[in-house]
Symmetry: C2
Subunit: 549 residues, 2 copies
Amino acid sequence: MRELVVHEVLKSALHNGPDSEIVYGGWRLTYAQLYERVLRLAQALKKRGVGRGTVLGVMDVNSHRYLELHYASSMLGAVLHTVNFRLPPDDLLYSLQHAGVEWMFVWEGFQQPLAKVRPLFRNWVWLTDGDASPEPGTPTHEELVQEGRAEVPDEATTVRETDPYSIFYTTGTTGRPKGMLYRHRDMLLASLGILHHLATHPTGAAAGSRDVYMPCIPFFHIHGWGTALFVPYLGAKLVLPGKATPAEQLRLVVEEGVTWSNMVPTQLHMLLEAADQAGVAELKGYKILTGGSPVPSGLARRARERGIAYSVIYGGSDQLAAAISVVPRGVEPGTPKAWEALRTNMLPLAMVEVRLEDDDGHPVPADGKSIGEVLVRSPWLPDGYYKDSERSREVYVDGWFRSGDLGVMNPDGTLYVVDRKKDAVKSGGEWIATGVLEALISEHPEVAAVAVIAQPDERWGERPLAVVQPRAGAGQENGGAVRDAGAGGGGVDHHARLEESLRAHLAAAVEQGRLARFWIPDRFVFVEQFPLTSAGKINKVALRREMVR
Amino acid sequence: MRELVVHEVLKSALHNGPDSEIVYGGWRLTYAQLYERVLRLAQALKKRGVGRGTVLGVMDVNSHRYLELHYASSMLGAVLHTVNFRLPPDDLLYSLQHAGVEWMFVWEGFQQPLAKVRPLFRNWVWLTDGDASPEPGTPTHEELVQEGRAEVPDEATTVRETDPYSIFYTTGTTGRPKGMLYRHRDMLLASLGILHHLATHPTGAAAGSRDVYMPCIPFFHIHGWGTALFVPYLGAKLVLPGKATPAEQLRLVVEEGVTWSNMVPTQLHMLLEAADQAGVAELKGYKILTGGSPVPSGLARRARERGIAYSVIYGGSDQLAAAISVVPRGVEPGTPKAWEALRTNMLPLAMVEVRLEDDDGHPVPADGKSIGEVLVRSPWLPDGYYKDSERSREVYVDGWFRSGDLGVMNPDGTLYVVDRKKDAVKSGGEWIATGVLEALISEHPEVAAVAVIAQPDERWGERPLAVVQPRAGAGQENGGAVRDAGAGGGGVDHHARLEESLRAHLAAAVEQGRLARFWIPDRFVFVEQFPLTSAGKINKVALRREMVR
């Protein structure tokens, strides 16, 4: 029995498109060249002691280097920690330690996190866009590639499909980030599952071997939603945007003939703005797979108006891919009804099961109205969080994953995810953990209680809104009404001053590496008291109803 | 980890097309109904003692019954012996015994084999198109379906992906048929591999969830080349042709809106003749996956002229799917170049590896000219023949399958299979074992030696040609020249008489169940002596060169 291991994908690349290009900056490699470079990199790493189970941390933008590491690591049976460089620095460090990273591969373009990370690792490889190592004596990726022999390492034939392939840390809504350990087989089946769904069903993001792909989802996030695996599997042309701005991405789309990208709605929003500014009226033939947060209908309309087709994917790092929107049977593609369905009707991937449960654990009917928590079962569902059996037990139950998302099941068996049960804020496709923010804010001496809730935002999807109850005596009486900082009425000066102080407090936390800057709430609102649940906790549902505008 | 077992496919059917139809004769079932019937059938069989490892033999035309048995058997962990009813009756019986069949499910439409098979089995289920059992007291399939509860059997959750799913016997070129035992995982991955290839690459037989499928390859043959699995996986409409004649198949294509079929070239030939007779000038939008024997270029042209698109698949029961023809990169679909490539350029399926070896085991270059034996490695390659380690060792070597086929590798990595290394005759997509025929013919008292070789045939692809050396003295001298029976020259009367006697001899063997009628050679040629190889064996290559016209 031949094993479903990730590096087998390269054999398909060599059959399907040995001469297809991988483009990054000034680099143009064919898959035949990429394959040779992967072998060389694997041999060079092997010589340095990298082998089965060695954990390799990588921090890079989407580049050919990152792609090469995917496969060299796979061949050696090593484990690729695709470092989530958007985590707050403290959490990032925690993830490196928790995963047991032994080697770091880091792009020189990253600034802030490096000062803290660099001293911790003796085994370090620089990822550079230039020729020389930024640190004499420390090798670059390119030096390793040039050094190794172009020969399949023996380990490549002994890697098992149930061996770990990669590890990724995702922000928890409370506490430390959670590690997900992905087996070769799971990541392969999930990635190909996305592709096969897009290829066999009528979607807006139809994908095939003759498309040109530019993944705008960073590779750290589930390998760019599987593109690092399924594009080579097709042998299709791959354009890697690196740190490209929306305007540069737009230029790549036009110049390289890109037909397919993935991105969160915020990225799509920015791309459309860039198109406005560049006077690019039409992007017909450009297909986008989006997801990560709900797609606002205004955004969907603006995309359509430019000729962009899209589908929405539902999934996440702790369950991988679950569903992708399709045009329902009997609906003509290209019609308004089809477009609306592509925003809201997500069909489970092959062999994925989705069901809804209400708060009492009862099944929720597929009536297109009733809301329940989304539970998912799939061939690639992870067993649980890495070295965290307690949190695993809460959400991985009897082979099902309790997503914490709220959804509606349509009568045709498709899913519309309407909300999250928990209260995390998703900004630009990235989670902001309200619990972490609340804990930080509550450290301020003038704060009695705090709740952070999501405020819808056209650009970022959501932004955090902090609702603060000032400490009695520290503030001044106000009329009991909810007031904005800066709004008219009693306590305005005091609230404005407190907001300023809270912002300084959080800015300090950013400097200390305890917080990512984009986590700082956009808005502060001050209240005399919170609505409470029957259990005495802050009632965030009521709060949102009251606060969010 | 969720297992890749065959009955999981039905869950996708329920998501992807619960209301899509399965059509057979007057039957119209939705997948939702089919699913319920499968559960009922499984429960009824379970009640009768069918369980893990029970071998169920099924002889049926492509029908909803056959489809239901696929999934009921899978859910119980039973093994489905898809009986090759085109085997000579002796071999068919051998296959039932060798596989350890405990239950038989037989369509009443079969006549000849039944008399011999029926008495051997106490556990018997009739498959009928009518209402009543042809044998009072013996249940029909439909009675079992009506009897069982619509409840998932407990066994369904304990079946492992490495458990055997089905067994199939294929004609060996010498000796008894060879049994192939397929694991759930292998059959699932191979079947879906065919679909995904057709969905992601530009082929003539593009396949998706909105196609309407009519498999004309019998389900016994690798589950109708995977259609019994991948069509429900898509939730697509499925038209089951049963024993339909080519004219009836044509009617189904038109009336049911069929867009996709699979068939061997002989079936395609007959379908085109039926279209001629029915005055159907065009079948635009009809896509055909063909294979099993080379596609004559004249046949390909005639299909194209009617608007039929096609691709060619390469594979077989002992290796499953290996490659399917595609339009090469850079070639415009629909052009003459594209059409020719679709006949000759077979791209290996994802994660399948193909290489060519010469007679000395050296690699053959991919130059589009050099011929070598085709070796295949794939994620679903069986371990070997069932209970036949000796023959397995010959062809399953170091994880590779030695196909016995001769091929040319094109510079773009695609494969063109040009011939078979061995000498079996393939007639209408079915093997005729020359060794078996030779053994039978040589039993005739007037035969000294005999060789059966393939004679190209426009309708059947190939037909057997028997070259006979009459026993000295039994015949009469002839001039040493090769002569046809019935042709002018010395010995004509004697040869005509001998041919008549040989035909009677073989007809008797058919009556005795030792031979299928269609195995009887079309032509007999008589020779004084055979060209021999250095090893003293009949040189069939030289013989073919000399004889075949």
